[in-house]
């Protein structure tokens, strides 16, 4: 018998990750590494990783990477891509990085239509720092800074940042997907491939928002986390293609 699935080339071999059991990062990391190989991007890729659980992503991805201050990934990616447009530049960011402290950079890099790709991991909570409220936390969701559940009167509503930027003319492709089972994972890979292809084809900015499980801070099993995404989170953040201007219109 021969091995049917090989270890992805651009993923450091047999390194045990620091991510929690059932965390969505591992699945999306693997998808990205596979696409680096399938689309032959790994040799010219620069990934800008966030402050968040994925601050240690450099231990796993076997491509050139740049650390970023919290939220600044899309500004750093802009600097790289503008001076070296032949490089393949993408950010990998969490919900705090991208839609709290990094909101201005996220909106303006999209508004300028920078030729970068953004992978937005949305787990509705601040994972690395122990489970505080995120901009995408759902109404009623308990976190360490909303112990009584998110109350719109004081805490506002979940922020649909991807929907906002999808309307910008320079945002060529925006899709929301969910890591909530085999079908969702397949769809996630297809979406990220589409988004990467937008940059390869020189069309402009692309973003994929991935609803991702955080069993530890949601206080659920991995299996129940997948269910919670399907039954609860995806009702607020509805998966689907938010914009597709690849044909020239939308």
């Amino acid at each position: 018998m021969k091995l049917l699935n090989k270890w992805p080339d651009y993923y450091k071999k047999d390194v045990a990750t620091h991510y929690c059991p059932g965390c969505g990062h591992g699945i999306v990391h693997r998808i990205v590494a596979e696409l680096m190989e399938e689309m032959d991007l790994g040799r010219r890729a620069i990934c800008v990783n966030p402050a968040g659980c994925a601050v240690l992503a450099y231990k796993y991805f076997d491509i050139d990477m740049i650390e970023s201050a919290h939220g600044r990934g899309t500004a750093i990616a802009t600097g790289v891509k503008r001076v070296k447009p032949e490089l393949f530049v993408f950010t990998y960011q969490g919900d705090g990085d991208l839609s709290a402290i990094g909101t201005a950079e996220t909106i303006h890099s999209a508004n300028r239509g920078e030729h970068i790709t953004v992978i937005f991991i949305n787990n509705a909570v601040y994972g690395m720092t122990g489970g505080q409220m995120a901009p995408t936390t759902l109404v009623g969701q308990r976190t360490t800074t909303t112990p009584g559940g998110r109350n719109p009167k004081f805490d506002g509503f979940p922020l649909h940042i991807t929907d906002v930027i999808a309307k910008f003319p320079g945002v060529i492709y925006a899709e929301r997907v969910a890591v909530n089972g085999p079908a969702g994972i397949q769809r996630t890979k297809r979406a990220i491939r589409n988004a990467f292809q937008v940059q390869v084809d020189g069309l402009g900015y692309s973003i994929v928002e991935v609803l991702s499980p955080c069993p530890t801070n949601w206080k659920m099993t991995p299996e129940d986390s997948f269910k919670w995404i399907t039954e609860v989170m995806a009702k607020e953040f509805v998966p689907g293609v938010l914009t597709d201007k690849r044909g020239g219109g939308d």
Partner: protein, 358 residues
């Protein structure tokens, strides 16, 4: 190039382009808007990249991205905007990335005003950002020096892999003077540390994160050794009429020019005054000051602030001489007459003290 008549702000831009800078990221703020505007016109014409960012914070991070690829890159702002860049400057220092940051100072703190001041000395020389690092700081005193020191700033940044600040003020930025620019350069040795995609080689991570404290300590001391080399090689200052001086003014930038005019005035009244003008604020010219203190009893520090470089002068002199201070903060530009009165008064005091102890 022949002599041209140009503003300080425009000169920063032209000097940067001639130094091979091919990327600029910045946000408008008075009194340095003309620098960004100059870059928006001339950088793309020279095959470079100009981006007006959404904030000074975004700009310094775009600088990080560009610098990581080995490109000569510049940003500029004025006092409040430089506050916004502090995190990014700390990161540049931690990453050991070269970049040039221009601060055209204005009145502060807070929103302040748009008039010239020197209130950001502490911010520039004492870190400003978090962590154990120093930033070389150049303080031009004329538009010609803006042209000359901007080139030096890029060279020092590349040579030592460090962010470098060029500290001007609103007066210097706005005024026009004759300038002769050096010839443009654009060929630089390759930077093996720069990121360009791993190609067939191992992947690399450009980082300032070092979780292991022992490793972090090692990195911190490595940076200190670098700063010691910079202090040894790159300290710059000007000596003006010091040979027979009995009282020495210490001032930098625009204030130094006013001090020189004051010195010319009081010399006519028989006051043997001179000036030590720091050109690098960090590394600070401690040694020349200490040497002077062997024979000079009185120093007068002039600043357009409430007294920031004053502390470095006191630290350098270690109590070996009397230090007086005269400052005008808030955007007020002092006059030569005002400085002359101070020098005269301090010299009279010195003569009285010496006669009494004679």
């Amino acid at each position: 190039m022949n002599k041209v008549f140009m503003s300080g702000n425009h000169t920063f831009g032209e000097a940067a382009i001639r130094a091979g800078c091919r990327s600029y990221f910045g946000y408008p703020i008075t009194p340095q808007n003309e620098l960004g505007e100059y870059m928006s016109e001339h950088l793309p014409a020279n095959g470079g990249v100009f981006v007006q960012s959404e904030s000074e914070t975004a700009a310094i991070n775009m600088v990080i991205g560009a610098a990581a690829t080995g490109t000569r890159v510049m940003t500029s702002s004025s006092s409040p905007g430089i506050s916004l860049k502090q995190e990014g400057i700390s990161f540049l220092a931690g990453f050991q990335l070269p970049a040039v940051i221009v601060n055209v100072m204005r009145g502060g703190p807070g929103l302040g005003n748009i008039a010239p001041a020197q209130g950001d000395y502490f911010q520039a020389t004492r870190g400003g950002g978090h962590g154990d690092y120093r930033t070389p700081v150049f303080a031009p005193g004329s538009v010609q020096e803006v042209a000359d020191l901007t080139r030096v700033a890029f060279d020092v940044a590349d040579r030592y892999r460090t962010p470098v600040m060029v500290l001007g003020d609103g007066m210097l930025g706005q005024m026009k003077e004759p300038v002769v620019f050096p010839e443009p350069i654009s060929d630089f040795p390759e930077k093996e540390w720069a990121l360009k995609g791993r190609g067939d080689g191992p992947s690399r991570y450009m980082a300032s994160l070092i979780l292991d404290p022992m490793e972090m300590e090692r990195h911190n001391w490595e940076l200190v050794r670098k700063y010691q080399v910079i202090a040894k090689n790159e300290t710059r200052y000007e000596e003006y009429m010091l040979d027979d001086a009995k009282i020495v003014a210490v001032a930098y930038g625009t204030t130094a020019r006013i001090a020189k005019a004051a010195i010319k005035r009081v010399r006519k009244e028989g006051v043997p005054a001179g000036l030590l003008r720091p050109i690098t604020l960090w590394p600070f010219p401690k040694e020349p000051l200490q040497n002077l203190a062997r024979r000079i009893e009185d120093f007068v520090v002039f600043e357009m602030s409430t007294g920031q470089m004053l502390e470095d002068v006191l630290l350098s002199l270690e109590g070996k001489a009397r230090v007086a201070f005269h400052g005008r903060p808030g955007g007020v530009v002092p006059t030569p007459v005002e400085f002359a009165r101070v020098l005269y008064r301090e010299y009279q005091r010195q003569m009285r003290v010496n006669n009494e102890t004679a």
